[in-house]
């Protein structure tokens, strides 16, 4: 995704066990902050289909 032009911080991957509530909160906080910092996604968003 990054290679194709989607910002690195928009996509996150994490492993969280059901017993790791604290880690889950950390991850969610980190992801939210990172994505918020980037602002709304400008690419790879399809509104009404473009026709040609």
């Amino acid at each position: 995704m990054e290679y194709m032009g989607i910002e690195r911080d928009r996509l996150h991957m994490s492993w969280v066990s059901s017993a790791e509530a604290t880690k889950f909160i950390d991850v969610v906080t980190r992801v939210t902050e990172a994505v918020r910092a980037l602002g709304p996604n400008q690419h790879f968003v399809k509104q009404k289909a473009k026709v040609a």
């Binding site: 399809k46 509104q47 009404k48 289909a49 026709v51 040609a52």
Partner: protein, 373 residues
């Protein structure tokens, strides 16, 4: 069906023929100036080079069509029949009074002209018209665009080795489907005005210098036809039994290499199949029409999941049978092919319609008859 001159040809188009043939000469400066002037009254489309290939595109103001092309990669059929086209729109927002009501999409059917269309592609338009304009059913999307279009053809003086138009019902100076045919005389263009539409365009462009040089067209035509080196034979297709041809032994061999991609059908000026799709984003929906291809397995999948054309051989046979047999039988207007050679040049695995046509045309179902007899 070159031999059947008397067959009802595809000339039911509304563009009224002008009685006395009018020739005008257009020096190359007036050509550019005329197009610029005509652009006030017409949207202009023409071939332009993009990346490695020529394509038909809307011309920007002042942009000139590049007539130094032989064949565009895709045919200009997309100007009347876009690859994706919106048909209807609707809203799923129940707070609106008109929710769930299909509405026509606003369309631009103002006059436009295709500059530099080749005679083969123009003839193809008339073959496509047989499908979109029938006595019972009329496709308003295609027809409105067609009615709005003036076809300014460019005679084809340098055909390719894969052009076989002269044996596919047209030719490098063929006039069917055109409103004006233009030939390049080096210093100037010589234009033959063929219809009222063509005359209106010439007037709008201010091309008025008359010419008497009808012989130039005849000579050009003869020379260009002499440069066509490729041909197909189609004389037996109509008389060969349909089911026998369908059961012919060569289809597995013809189809083996086929990838079932859409290159041949998408590049073909006469392929007209489409699929209708709804796309909804949020509460706004559109119903659109997209090119489809008989090469794709899902082309024939039923809602039950059953696919009557489940194998590659069946699909390849369908394409060639439609072009070279079903169409011939149904319309008696020749084959559904104008010999532009695009599928021949572009097929990734070199399946050649000329070879298949030869197999079909020379097919003699003797063995099968003997068994049945």
């Amino acid at each position: 069906m070159a031999g059947k001159a008397a067959s009802p040809s595809v000339n039911s188009f509304k563009a009224v023929k002008v009685n006395a043939m009018t020739l005008v000469t257009i020096d190359k400066k007036s050509w550019a100036a005329g197009l610029t002037t005509a652009a006030d009254a017409y949207g202009l489309f023409g071939p332009v080079k993009e990346k490695d290939y020529h394509q038909f595109k809307a011309l920007e103001k002042g942009e000139m069509p590049d007539l130094n092309m032989v064949n565009t990669r895709l045919s200009p059929k997309s100007l009347l029949f876009p690859q994706s086209e919106e048909m209807l729109e609707y809203s799923l927002d129940e707070s609106r009074e008109d929710h769930h009501i299909m509405k026509e999409v606003a369309r631009d059917d103002s006059p436009r002209a295709i500059i530099g269309i080749r005679p083969c592609d123009a003839k193809a338009t008339l073959l496509v018209k047989l499908n979109f304009d029938t006595p019972d059913v009329k496709d308003p999307y295609w027809l409105n665009a067609y009615e709005a279009t003036t076809f300014i053809g460019m005679a084809c003086d340098t055909p390719l080795s894969t052009c076989f138009c002269t044996t596919a019902g047209c030719g490098p100076y063929h006039e069917e489907g055109l409103d004006m045919l233009v030939m390049d005389q080096g210093e100037a263009y010589l234009a033959k005005i063929l219809t009222e539409k063509g005359k209106a365009f010439a007037d709008a462009a201010g091309w008025k210098a008359p010419s008497e040089d009808a012989a130039a067209f005849d000579a050009g035509k003869k020379a260009a036809e002499g440069r066509i080196v490729s041909s197909v034979k189609t004389d037996n297709l109509a008389d060969t039994d349909l089911l026998e041809l369908h059961a012919a032994p060569f289809w597995d061999d013809v189809a083996f290499a086929c990838l079932n991609c859409g290159t041949c059908t998408f590049s073909c000026p006469t392929c007209w199949c489409f699929d209708i799709q709804d796309e909804v984003h949020g509460k706004a929906g559109v119903r659109m029409k997209n090119w489809d291809s008989c090469m794709f397995p899902i082309f024939t999948v039923h809602t039950t999941g059953h696919n009557p054309r489940d194998t590659k051989t069946q699909r390849v046979r369908q394409r060639f049978m439609h072009k070279l047999k079903y169409f011939v039988d149904k319309y008696d207007a020749g084959i559904m092919c104008v010999g532009c050679g695009r599928c021949v040049r572009q097929c990734p695995v070199n399946i050649d319609i000329r070879r298949v046509c030869e197999l079909m045309n020379s097919f003699k179902p003797e063995d099968t008859c003997a068994v049945q007899g």
